[in-house]
């Protein structure tokens, strides 16, 4: 077992890349393990049938998808073995940089009440709603750091849901005429709107170019490297320090613990040589181990690492590991712009939002931000956005596409979910991956209170479109389903008391001195916002905590 490293990080997504940068620049020797490959932007295909926004027959990052199935348990209790492009798999981008290579870049701070949901609303029956052990003030300096070191474009004066000490480093994304039209509609309702924060270079920043507003944004790599994440900021900084070793196609299989139960290393499979198809089993040892593989795979790795002292998995002393899975329930209202509003097909597209309904909705637990959507692919429009009575084929369908494609508009809302302990990641007893390891088994469904909040937000979304003057407005009822997806969170919730969660308030696994989790897994609740900036802020905070720890 080698010990050339101080820290091993499993995963190079937003959190893993940030941790690598903070720790390597802080003098630590870092081994960074990534299951996927290091793909240049040009190597992430612009395929409209196989991308992370529409995964009909595959996606555009995952190598060898058949190696890594998961098992999805449906509402009737029947298991289905699913591959990465199947919606039931819950969408992970397996490449250096993770989902941020292809993300939509919304970079929100949570609301202060998002950290104290149980205190504010009480705990509904059947839910595991709880407060975070930290509050907004604990994260604020790290939110600010993420905004500046990753690069977030936003409207400082308009973004008032969370107190801000410092302006964004980049001016907000430009507003399309349809976003201005929505803003006028909100004015009529007395709702305050602003341009939402996006991690995109609206002008050259940190040595890279500006967004060219192409129309192939979310789900795809950026043609000008203006889509910001850890892959083009902190990770290159880590590598430039000379203290970070990145191993790609490295599949962590187990956290190694010693006789006292403490984590001392990681077992993984990696290519015998850089481009070899043959993988060999390796072990690496380090003082600090950080699991940063997303809420599904992080929980799975801790479960796979069960030992005689911790037979149910590391950090599973109080049966929280893998439970409380959350993403966001996403009600959408669709409409048609009146013909006199100038259409726009420029990216990224999300450029008007309101936080009017994140909290304080009578009789409702929590709420959500509302915003317009990203620029849409023609095929996605055909599948999702035509009015419901449009014929699905023939000349009538073709004419509807021609007449309505540029007039489609939708408003959507990442509704804060009410966690349930029965929505969970476990190890499947039957299905194994290519290394013979049990795969993640996903089961459970939405808590009824989430449906109530989502229905409330669906009504607000419709109300916004109507007040704006949409010619038609329609939407679909919210369904109960297992929810994780691109915003997956909650499986290793942090807690002050070891009885209430998996990690301490810094992400250190309870009972372990040097084993950390850092990604959306830590989120006790997932906010009424896209969660990426919170994941990044936690990574900066955990990184600094590790540097300052004896």
């Amino acid at each position: 077992m080698t010990s050339d490293h101080d820290v091993i990080i499993v995963g190079t997504g937003l959190a893993g890349g940030i941790l690598a940068g903070v720790l390597a620049e802080g003098g630590r020797r870092v081994l960074l393990l990534e299951r996927g490959r290091a793909l240049a932007d040009s190597a992430i295909p612009g395929d409209h049938l196989r991308n992370h926004r529409l995964t009909l027959y595959g996606d555009n990052t995952t190598p060898e998808p058949a190696r890594h199935p998961r098992v999805f348990i449906d509402a009737a209790g029947d298991p289905h073995t699913v591959l990465p492009h199947d919606a039931r798999y819950q969408l992970n981008a397996f490449t250096v940089g993770g989902g941020a290579r292809v993300w939509g870049m919304q970079a929100w701070r949570f609301h202060s009440d998002d950290f104290r949901m149980a205190t504010r609303y009480g705990v509904p029956d059947g839910s595991s709603l709880a407060d975070w052990p930290i509050g907004y003030a604990d994260l604020a300096p790290f939110y600010e750091r993420a905004e500046h070191e990753i690069g977030v474009a936003g409207d400082h004066a308009g973004t008032t849901h969370a107190p801000r000490a410092r302006d964004f480093p980049l001016p907000p994304v430009p507003r399309s005429p349809s976003a201005e039209w929505l803003a006028r509609g909100a004015d009529r309702l007395g709702w305050r709107t602003f341009t939402p924060p996006l991690a995109v270079n609206t002008r050259p920043y940190l040595g890279r170019g500006a967004c060219i507003q192409c129309a192939q944004c979310i789900g795809f790599a950026c043609p000008t490297d203006a889509k910001n994440g850890s892959h083009n900021t902190l990770l290159p900084r880590a590598l430039a320090s000379g203290r970070c070793t990145l191993v790609t196609r490295a599949h962590a299989s187990r956290i190694i613990t010693d006789n006292s139960g403490q984590a001392i290393g990681v077992e993984y499979f990696a290519p015998t040589t850089t481009d070899s198809a043959t993988l060999e089993r390796r072990t690496a040892r380090a003082r600090t181990i950080i699991v940063s593989s997303g809420a599904i795979e992080s929980a799975r790795l801790l479960l796979l690492s069960a030992s005689p002292l911790q037979p149910h998995g590391l950090g599973n002393h109080s049966d929280h590991l893998g439970r409380h899975v959350q993403g966001h329930s996403y009600p959408i209202a669709y409409g048609l712009l009146p013909p006199d509003v100038e259409p726009s097909l420029l990216g990224p597209g999300v450029s008007v939002a309101t936080t009017q309904f994140n909290h304080g909705n009578p009789g409702i637990i929590g709420g959500a931000m509302l915003a317009n959507d990203f620029v849409k692919l023609p095929l996605i429009f055909w599948r999702q956005s035509l009015p419901p009575d449009t014929p699905r084929w023939g000349l009538a369908n073709k004419r509807a596409m021609r007449d309505l494609f540029r007039r489609g508009i939708d408003v959507r809302s990442p509704v804060q979910e009410i966690p349930s302990p029965d929505s969970r990641v476990a190890l499947d007893p039957a299905v194994r991956d290519t290394f013979g390891l049990p795969v993640a088994r996903l089961s459970g469904t939405t808590h009824p209170e989430t449906v109530r909040t989502a229905e409330f937000m669906r009504a607000r979304a419709e109300e916004w479109l109507r007040a704006s003057g949409a010619e038609r407005v329609w939407s679909w009822p919210v369904e109960k389903k297992f929810s994780a997806g691109q915003h997956q969170a909650g499986t290793c919730r942090m807690s002050a008391d070891p009885r209430d969660g998996v990690t301490d308030p810094f992400g250190r696994v309870h009972g372990h001195d040097h084993l950390f989790v850092c990604d959306g897994s830590l989120h006790v609740t997932n906010g009424g916002f896209n969660p990426a900036l919170t994941i990044m802020a936690l990574a900066f905070r955990t990184g600094e905590h590790i540097l300052a720890s004896p």
Partner: protein, 148 residues
Amino acid sequence: MSLTPPQLTALRSLLDRIIPADDFPGALTAGTDTYVLRHLLGDCTEEAHALLLGLTQLDAETVACHGAHQTFATLLPTQQDALLADLAAARPMTPWPPQLPAAPWFHRLVELAHEGFYADPANGGNRDAASWGMLGYAPRTTPERAAP
């Protein structure tokens, strides 16, 4: 897996009604038949067998409705559309195999046709970005400047 000549003829005629040409190119002008064929023989081999049987059934359906001298391809467009509308509404004239009900078969081909027609040209069914030109959609991406 391969198509018989009658199946191929039926497929082309079917696609021509699912996305007809008007002032703008339809499925056949855009090469959507190429996409669907490539797809049946590639990504979709599991469902290809049933989809091809459906093409044969489409001709049987035509005979049941219009007589033995007709195939789907020889019908007038209005007759073709009326027949397809009946299939879409799960009202076939002939017994379709239980594992291949008419409406899901037709809807799957509708889906495949539109996938090819509206996807990026590299997928083969949207030659010269014909559908994107009709919609006014252009990705406007430029070559990357730097790899991460």
